[in-house]
């Protein structure tokens, strides 16, 4: 771990001014991902700005009939909120599928969005990785790891986002609200908060260095049943091999791209009266990568759509 400066922010303005004044600084909330990466020297911030005690943990009703979830609400708090559980059950289930109880108690909504890929070659500082060390190459492309991107990958990077929560958020058309040191507030769909790797896989999101996530806003849930499915090698405490969230007529896929992947082609097919299997096939027709993985995502997508339509519990 490299030596670093540590400062606890008094309020949001203080956090933002510290960030603007210290290039290479990172915001620290739960720390469940950032600190691990710092120990491995994959993250080497010169300064940590602790925002963990700022009053941003509230979950509140919006005028539009949705929910506004403060960036510092813990994953546990969101998943156990009665409003989330009754109106956004796919979100509650997605969060509960992530990490462990201890991690969810510590991890925040904002931090969950900002977590980095778990690609084993990204996590091993001794290996070439364009995301970690631009221009060094991609070890994963010809490597042994299986959870590679099926959508939106580039020649530079095939890593996937590890967040389960953001898959459900994308299905609900959730919006991330951020603020910068100059006071400007921006609202971006969670779906496109993360960049696809393109030529610059080292940049995960469009957020500026002094830009802090304040909240995630959920519009009212779409009509219709919801479903969530996460495929994993053991029953808990491991990342998704693939996941899918269904909310009404919307479908989002997880662990298949550098961002939560809205299956717009599947949604369009469903709108045209396609069956669940046809809709899944329409989306996966444009996937790249090993046949087995495409097949898995096709199967769980069809199954989750079917389950949501039948309203059947899994």
């Amino acid at each position: 771990m490299k030596p670093f400066a540590f400062e606890r922010a008094r309020d949001v303005d203080h956090a933002l001014s510290l960030a603007a004044a210290s290039p290479g600084a990172r915001f620290l909330a739960g720390g469940t991902n950032l600190l691990d990466l710092m120990k491995l020297e994959i993250e080497q911030p010169a300064r940590l700005i602790d925002v963990g005690r700022l009053p941003l943990a509230e979950i509140a009703e919006t005028a539009a009939g949705g929910l506004r979830i403060g960036a510092l609400a813990t994953n546990t708090a969101v998943a156990s909120d009665p409003r989330v559980r009754s109106r956004y059950p796919a979100l509650a289930r997605a969060i509960l599928a992530g990490g462990s109880v201890q991690l969810r108690n510590k991890a925040t909504v904002g931090g969950n969005l900002m977590q980095r890929t778990r690609c084993p070659y990204f996590m091993d500082a001794a290996k070439p990785c364009n995301k970690r060390l631009p221009g060094s190459g991609c070890s994963a492309m010809e490597g042994l790891s299986r959870s590679l991107a099926l959508f939106g990958a580039s020649e530079m990077c095939v890593a996937v986002s590890p967040s389960d929560m953001s898959v459900a958020l994308a299905a609900f058309d959730a919006v991330a609200e951020t603020v910068r040191a100059d006071g400007s507030v921006r609202r971006r769909p969670v779906e496109t908060l993360h960049r696809l790797p393109g030529e610059a896989p080292q940049v995960d999101t469009d957020l500026a260095p002094d830009e802090l996530v304040l909240a995630v806003e959920l519009p009212p849930p779409p009509p219709g049943p919801q479903a969530w499915r996460k495929v994993r090698a053991r029953a808990s405490y491991t990342g998704a091999i693939a996941s899918v969230a269904v909310a009404g007529d919307r479908v989002a896929l997880g662990a298949v791209a550098a961002r939560p992947w809205r299956a717009r082609l599947a949604e369009a097919a469903l709108a045209d009266g396609a069956s669940a299997a046809e809709a899944a096939a329409a989306e996966l027709a444009h996937a790249e990568g090993p046949e087995g993985r495409r097949s898995l995502v096709r199967r769980i997508t069809a199954d989750a759509i079917r389950e949501a339509r039948e309203g059947a519990a899994s």
């Binding site: 091993d124 490597g143 090698a233 053991r234 808990s236 405490y237 898995l296 199967r299």
Partner: protein, 754 residues
């Protein structure tokens, strides 16, 4: 030298009059561990402020260090010293033995410019804080000249040669017997490379007291660690005092010492301060040993009634080029089923990867994943129940050597297990049972694992306060050794448990071989028992010869021990009073155990039957264990709770082997794909929802005076095979490539059109 007949006589443990033997006594050190106050090796108090070491690891598989620059690291904040092979203090040549009786040779670190595997130590930093040491480690600049390396096991099978010093074991004429068989099975299984994944990484705290070094380290074998360090430093072993009191998991991976021990001792000498060194989680994967991958071909030939005529298990495995080790995956098959024509053996590929070594139930753990599934296939081919097939091949004597069995309750394990598990509810047709989107199936397998007794000693002191203190250079790697030794000592001396102390893990104590190969309880326990018997004789003689004793002048051989007293008829006195009169240090005796002269005249094993019910997700191929149950026979049980904990823990290892645990060598780098516990997937609580085990009543009077046997490794044996067989029964997919991960299962389902 004693014979097993000497062991058969009744004794305080087998009579168990106060009932301590077998009782579910809580862990002796349990409170310390659950309150976080048991000092592990990295945490022990030091005589003065300690320094912290960090090891820098090689990032090539094989080659030479062409340049290494530690100057930047040496100048970093807080750094006390920085070593590479260019400036590390002198150590003895690899393998050297100053003392020919040393159990280990020298194992120098940073010894040369050679790199023999990825993750090998290449530099060492000592600093005032662990953070500064680690940060400075990142400043070491290394350049390598990489050389061609053999890294990929399965593509190197043509390099396989005989295992050193071994020949295939042949009984009868396998080839003739196999070709003459009416029904045959011929399939190949693969068990992948696995890691121990202990919670506690290897760690050492060291300081010097004059010309003696004191080390607290996490190791399963006290003498092995003491001797390895002494030889490496080139000093007599009595100048190394090694402590290993609490160990956060070993599983065979801490059967030897690593560079943390050597570097802590060297750095403490150089700096004149105590030094702590621990491996990082990532280093644990590549700087320590692993269970090697094994490819196993099994051939079974039987007649139509299911009687085996021929069986072969041929295993190919791997080890590091300069660190020979054989995963004896075929050995168990020599003693399990009757068949007149038999062939078992091993071939070995030398690779340029980290060292292969022992991991819980070496041999059986991967080996039974093949044969026990082959038996399932044969049963299906014959239309026989898998249990019935095994019963038809139950041998009268050991099929390898015709020796009688000491005791063998394998059939009873299967029958009781079937009954308690509800095996009769299994539908033998694969894919016939559905529960929503899940295919549901049941499978079983047997378990066999050898039992061993090694020489061991112990010391026992009785003091005037009535306390008995057992001391032994033994380890408790989380298995319960402290607890069972207290029970044995208490029962032998007729003392309540609160008057018994146990002190372990100190190289100055009477030596025991440590924990491994499920020999620990029988070996250390028998030594404790014999030492207790020495104490009884000494105390009886003291009483008989002491005019102040109410037992003065009586026959010491008639005296008994109960409730803290020595008793004869209606006369008695307390052990405390007796010890108090003996002097301020009370009474101290030593005793020990050695294998009986005729112990090898019997075939001696522990046995079990494993039953599993799984669900297979028909969409994703995910396999989830629904319930698991096993019945085991492993001699007299010393502590019902701890024995069951060992057995069920072993079964959970089998779950991991069957479903999740695997590491792969990246053939481009020679490194492991997974280097943390987020990538290397051992089962978690959610995977184990309903798992239980029962131990049958048994006493093996050929094993040792107490009739006990080991339980530490039995539970893993066959456990994974029962799960694989259940997966087949659930969905009709026979996968022979472990672990049975969702991608493989789903691909197989798709291949069947499911």
């Amino acid at each position: 030298m004693s014979t097993v007949r000497d062991w058969a006589a009744p004794n305080p443990v087998t009579e168990n009059r106060s009932g301590l033997i077998g009782k579910s006594v809580d862990r002796y050190e349990g409170r310390l561990k659950v309150t976080g106050t048991a000092p592990y090796a990295f945490e022990v108090e030091t005589p003065s402020q300690p320094l912290y070491g960090h090891i820098v690891s090689a990032t090539i598989a094989r080659g030479r260090i062409t340049s290494i620059d530690v100057s930047q690291a040496a100048a970093a904040p807080g750094v006390v010293l920085a070593w590479s092979h260019l400036n590390v203090p002198t150590q003895a040549q690899r393998g050297a033995k100053l003392n020919p009786r040393s159990q280990r040779g020298s194992n120098p670190t940073l010894a040369s410019d050679r790199v023999e595997h990825y993750g090998q130590s290449v530099a060492f930093i000592l600093a005032d804080t662990p953070e500064n040491a680690r940060a400075a480690g990142g400043l070491v600049r290394v350049a390598y000249a990489a050389e061609d390396a053999d890294l990929d096991f399965l593509s190197s099978l043509d390099l396989a040669g005989p295992a050193p010093g071994e020949e295939d074991a042949r009984v009868g004429d396998f080839e003739a017997g196999y070709s003459a068989s009416e029904v045959t099975v011929d399939d190949t299984w693969f068990s992948p490379l696995q890691n121990h994944a202990q919670m506690e990484p290897c760690a050492t705290t060291a300081w010097w007291e004059g010309d003696k070094v004191v080390v607290h380290t996490s190791i399963q074998m006290v003498k092995g660690g003491q001797h390895a360090l002494a030889e490496t430093l080139g000093i007599p072993s009595d100048r190394v005092r090694l402590f290993t009191r609490y160990i956060g998991g070993g599983f065979g991976g801490k059967g030897q010492s690593y560079d943390d021990l050597t570097l802590a001792a060297l750095a403490a000498r150089e700096s004149g301060q105590p030094v702590r060194v621990a491996y990082t989680r990532q280093q644990m994967f590549q700087a320590t040993i692993h269970r090697p991958a094994v490819q196993m071909r099994v051939r079974l030939g039987a007649d139509r009634t299911g009687r085996l005529n021929a069986m072969a298990l041929e295993a190919v495995t791997h080890c590091a080029r300069n660190a020979p080790f054989v995963e004896h995956a075929a050995n168990f098959a020599r003693n399990l089923y009757a068949a007149p024509h038999r062939l078992t053996g091993h071939r070995l590929v030398r690779l340029d990867i980290p060292h292969a070594g022992a991991m819980r139930a070496p041999g059986e753990a991967p080996g039974m994943l093949s044969l026990e599934c082959a038996m399932d296939e044969l049963a299906e081919t014959l239309g026989l129940d898998p249990i019935e097939l095994r019963i038809r091949n139950e041998p009268e004597v050991d099929p390898d050597n015709a020796k009688p069995f000491s005791v063998r309750q394998l059939v009873r394990c299967m029958r009781e297990g079937a009954q308690q598990f509800g095996w009769d509810r299994r539908n033998p047709t694969p894919g016939a049972v559905r529960d929503g989107r899940w295919y549901v199936g049941m499978g079983m397998a047997t378990a066999i694992r050898g039992n061993f007794l090694l020489p061991a000693k112990a010391g026992l002191r009785l003091t005037g306060d009535g306390l008995a203190t057992l001391t032994q250079g033994m380890t408790d790697i989380g298995t319960g050794t402290y607890t069972i030794l207290a029970q044995i000592t208490g029962e032998t001396l007729g003392l309540p448990l609160d008057q018994v102390r146990v002190e372990l893990g100190d190289s100055d104590m009477p030596p025991a071989p440590g924990s491994g190969g499920q020999f620990g309880a029988a070996t250390a326990g028998s030594a404790a028992f014999e030492t207790g018997m020495v104490m009884r004789r000494r105390l009886a003689e003291l009483a008989a010869g002491d005019p102040r004793s109410p037992l003065y002048g009586e026959d010491p051989t008639l005296m008994d021990f109960a409730n803290g007293n020595i008793v004869l008829g209606n006369r008695s006195e307390s052990l405390a009073a007796l010890a108090a009169r003996a002097g301020p240090d009370g009474v101290y005796v030593e005793g020990g155990i050695s294998p009986a002269a005729d112990a090898r005249d019997w075939s001696q094993h522990t046995y079990g039957a494993q039953f599993a019910e799984v669900g297979v997700d028909s969409v994703t191929g995910e396999v989830r264990l629904r319930r698991m149950f096993g019945v085991f026979a492993a001699g007299r049980i010393l502590n019902a709770k701890l024995a069951k904990s060992q057995i069920t823990g072993g079964m959970i290892w089998g779950v991991g082997a069957a479903l999740t645990e695997s590491n792969a060598v990246d053939p481009r780098y020679g490194s492991f794909l997974h280097q943390d516990l987020g990538g290397y997937l051992a089962p978690v609580h959610a995977d184990i929802v309903n798992l239980d085990a029962v131990l049958l009543d048994e006493a093996d009077d050929k094993a040792n005076p107490m009739g006990i046997k080991g339980v530490g490794e039995l539970g893993i044996c066959g456990a994974g095979a029962a799960i694989a067989n259940a997966v087949y029964n659930a969905c009709g997919v026979r996968l022979r490539d472990y672990p049975l991960t969702p991608d493989k299962v789903m691909a197989a389902l798709e291949a069947k059109g499911l």
